[in-house]
């Protein structure tokens, strides 16, 4: 190997929306699809890509691989599809490349990939386009009718205009109204009413009445109002769908995690990449450094440090040897291990956790959105008003059937929840966009509503209050020159300690002649001298006592015959943890810490963060039990956590947040995922949720006020098609503008 130095770009998202990921490399071979023409295709779920720079980096990087014809990343869903030709490219080179760029890639099951296409979104878009087209054209005719109302337009011309409107409106409403008709029909069949029932009823009645008027050469037709109603509501529906699609994409990522692969060791010593679901108990599996245990099992060969933090919350790595039990999800760090599988993937710890998560999510689905709660009050009220109007005009006013029906329908049209349908989604889209800019991904609209309601925050320790990974702790004691030298070795290694060095040193060059000895360290040539970075006895330290403190790890670096340099790594508390906890406390919220780690490290962090109530050595079920205890007392809790052991608690809590470095299952279970090194986004998410809730309630009260003014007009028969059209578009615009106010946030509220 030459000693030429190559410069590597800094890994991860160039916009710093998410730190580079210390990814496990998965061999995606079982998921490659071969096309009849010889091309190979692979669908991957990429984690950590958030900006245009990420697209350029990933697509550009993959195109440098031999034979790659196309690589396309969908930024909205995180799905990457790669196609290549020829046998020169091993599929693992693709995931390796993505991982080197600082992202994590997991293969998609081809079946799951086929279901990925957003058919529902396309359907709503088509409906919206048809309603928009019909609305614009009918409005063109309606404006002429209103302008010619005082005699300038003859009845024959008006009738023709009505007929043309009818020909546009009826098929358009039949096409664009399907989402509402379908949902209303299903709700009625199940014996209850939702917001779509009055919508469908108003559209159908308005259209029938208009057709009746047209047939009888009457002056008033509501074709424009009916399709305008559909158009505005479909905008709200589409925005809502896009928010939900984001949370679905996250759930599919969890599926992708379960579809990963492992290296199976056959009796003749050959290795084979297999899908995790195909591993049978008794089979041998090779875990290279950087691999995660795919199923529960027992170590049969090798000794290695294993990172169990995602499973138990314990931050110090555990040394595993023959006969030690490994749980699915633990990460092998230092040298190769052979394990014997003891359970199927669906019986392993990760699957148990998945079941707990599902149970928690079922509880959450019982949450009723604000808009639906409003609808439950609104629907019976409006329908009784319309009925009262009909009866009033027919019996008391003695106005005849036609006038009575006209006025009853006018009540339904004017009260149709156009603004209500737009009120919540518009606010939630704006709030989600604002949080995204602050580095918080919101997975669903009702998550914002739920977070705004919480009374207490519960934090996990490792990876939540602390950074989670090992970090260089004694950077100040090390000469910059030594740090840069050691980074030239560390950049070639995937060991967590090397990753921590690279993180501290930043981007730079590689040393020449690099060789990594598993379990010992990395060596290479720098400025013509041999350099080693790794275990003390291997590097050749002069009898320095090894550290015994379990909360930290250490390594030594030596170049030539110089004195070895000592590096200490530990899992440090996030810099703004105390500040954030105090800010939450100042807002009257309870704060508690639940950790799976041992008591001593838990106490240390709780004291540093200023948390008075804390518990240690909790199992996942005990964490849920504590959350349930709180909720029985009527306290709604937000859970903040990152480990696999937190995932069930995240799913069970009223609202949940998880850092971008968390286990995939936890990110999938959480409502919010925040990026970066600070804990501040937790506070930001809470504040924005509060503001969003205020805006939604404002919009509802505006809609209520508007109805209060409009209903008397409709009941007493003063509403013409012109007034209906003005009122409907006016209220929708005001609701949307009010939502947009959230974009910048009121200075007073955030101060």
């Amino acid at each position: 190997m030459s000693t030429a130095e190559t410069t590597l770009p800094a890994p991860g998202c160039p916009s710093n929306l998410e730190p580079a990921i210390n990814a496990d490399i998965v061999d995606p071979s079982p998921f490659v699809r071969r096309q009849p023409d010889g091309a190979a295709r692979l669908e991957l779920s990429v984690h950590g890509a958030h900006c245009g720079g990420c697209i350029a980096k990933i697509e550009g990087g993959l195109k440098t691989l031999p034979g790659v014809e196309a690589a396309r990343l969908n930024l909205s869903t995180g799905k990457l599809s790669v196609s290549w030709r020829g046998a020169a490219l091993a599929p693992i080179a693709i995931t390796q490349k993505i991982s080197d760029l600082g992202y994590r890639a997991a293969p998609f099951d081809p079946e799951a990939a086929a279901k990925q296409e957003d058919l529902e979104g396309r359907f709503l878009l088509r409906c919206m386009a048809v309603a928009g087209f019909a609305m614009a054209n009918i409005m063109l005719l309606s404006v002429a009718i209103w302008a010619g109302h005082d005699g300038e337009m003859g009845p024959a011309t008006r009738a023709m205009m009505h007929w043309v409107s009818a020909v546009i409106a009826l098929p358009a409403a039949a096409f664009a109204g399907r989402p509402f008709f379908r949902s209303a029909f299903n709700a009625l069949k199940a014996g209850h009413a939702n917001m779509d029932v009055p919508i469908s009823l108003a559209v159908i009645l308005a259209l029938s009445l208009s057709v009746y008027e047209t047939l009888n050469d009457g002056p008033d037709a509501y074709f424009d109002a009916a399709v305008m109603l559909l158009f505005f509501l479909l905008i709200g529906r589409y925005l809502d769908h896009r928010l939900r699609a984001k949370s679905r994409a996250a759930a599919q990522e969890l599926l992708a995690l379960q579809a990963t692969t492992a290296s199976r060791l056959s009796n003749d010593g050959s290795l084979e990449a297999v899908s995790v679901r195909d591993i049978a108990p008794g089979e041998s599996i090779l875990l290279s450094p950087g691999d995660r245990a795919p199923v529960d099992g027992v170590v049969v060969d090798g000794v290695s440090d294993v990172d169990v933090s995602l499973v138990t919350g314990e931050s110090a790595p555990a040394r595993m040897k023959d006969g030690d039990k490994l749980f699915a999800g633990v990460l092998n760090m230092s040298s190769r291990l052979v394990m014997r599988a003891e359970a199927l993937a669906e019986d392993s710890l990760i699957a148990d956790l998945t079941r707990l998560i599902e149970a928690g999510e079922q509880g959450k689905s019982k949450y009723i959105r604000l808009a639906d709660r409003a609808a439950a009050l609104y629907v019976p009220l409006v329908h009784s008003l319309a009925l009262a109007t009909f009866l009033g005009w027919f019996f008391i006013g003695d106005a005849g059937l036609r006038i009575a029906v006209m006025n009853a329908v006018a009540v339904l049209i004017i009260t149709c929840p156009c603004a209500l349908g737009l009120a919540a989604p518009a606010v939630q889209v704006v709030a989600t966009g604002r949080l995204f800019k602050e580095g918080v991904l919101v997975k669903s609209g009702d998550a914002l509503e739920r977070l705004a309601e919480v009374d207490a925050f519960v934090f996990d320790k490792t990876g939540t209050l602390t950074h989670g990974g090992l970090r260089l702790a004694n950077k100040d004691d090390i000469a910059e020159q030594d740090l840069q030298h050691v980074a030239m070795l560390a950049r070639a290694s995937r060991h967590p300690l090397s990753r921590a060095i690279v993180q501290a040193a930043g981007a730079g060059s590689l040393a020449g002649g690099i060789h990594e000895t598993p379990g010992c360290g990395v060596e290479g040539v720098i400025d013509g001298e041999r350099a080693r970075f790794g275990r003390g006895d291997w590097v050749g330290d002069d009898g320095a006592p090894p550290q015994t403190d379990l909360a930290s790890s250490e390594a030594w670096f030596r170049i030539g015959a110089n004195r070895p340099v000592h590096f200490v790594f530990e899992d440090a508390i996030r810099a703004d943890a105390r500040e954030t906890i105090e800010a939450l406390g100042a807002r009257g919220l309870g704060v508690e810490m639940l950790s799976g780690d041992r008591e001593a490290p838990a106490r240390l962090i709780a004291e540093a963060a200023g948390i008075e109530r804390w518990r240690a050595e909790l199992s996942p079920a005990e964490k849920i039990a504590r959350l349930e205890e709180l909720s029985r007392k009527g306290i709604k809790t937000a859970m903040v956590g990152d480990g696999l052991n937190d995932a069930p608690a995240l799913a069970a809590a009223h609202a949940s947040l998880s850092p971008g470095t968390a286990a995939d299952a936890s990110q999938a279970a959480a409502d919010f995922v925040f990026q970066g090194d600070s804990l501040g986004p937790v506070l930001t998410a809470f504040e924005v949720s509060k503001q969003a809730r205020r805006r939604v309630l404002e919009n509802f009260s505006f809609a209520a006020f508007y109805n209060l003014c409009a209903i008397p007009l409709a009941v007493f028969g003063f509403v013409t098609p012109l007034i209906a059209a003005l009122a409907m578009s006016g209220s929708s615009i005001i609701v949307t503008l009010n939502a947009l106010r959230l974009k910048t946030g009121d200075r007073k509220e955030t101060a």
Binding site: E69, L75, S76, A129, V130, A136, L140, M160
Partner: protein
């Protein structure tokens, strides 16, 4: 008023063309990645201008 007899169909035809174009763009997947499309316009894709090998 006879002008209406061809003006209304003309308006509908033009609107219909727009609607058809929109349907085509939805079908061809242009609305599947709204976030990515917004970013892609800023990418320097000079290397894609090289002649493809097929």
């Amino acid at each position: 008023m006879t002008a209406l007899l061809f003006l209304i169909p003309a308006a509908l035809l033009l609107g219909g063309l727009g609607l058809a174009a929109f349907f085509w763009s939805v079908k061809s997947g242009q609305y599947d990645d709204l976030d990515g499309a917004a970013e892609r316009i800023l990418l320097d894709d000079d290397e894609e201008a090289e002649p493809a090998d097929h």
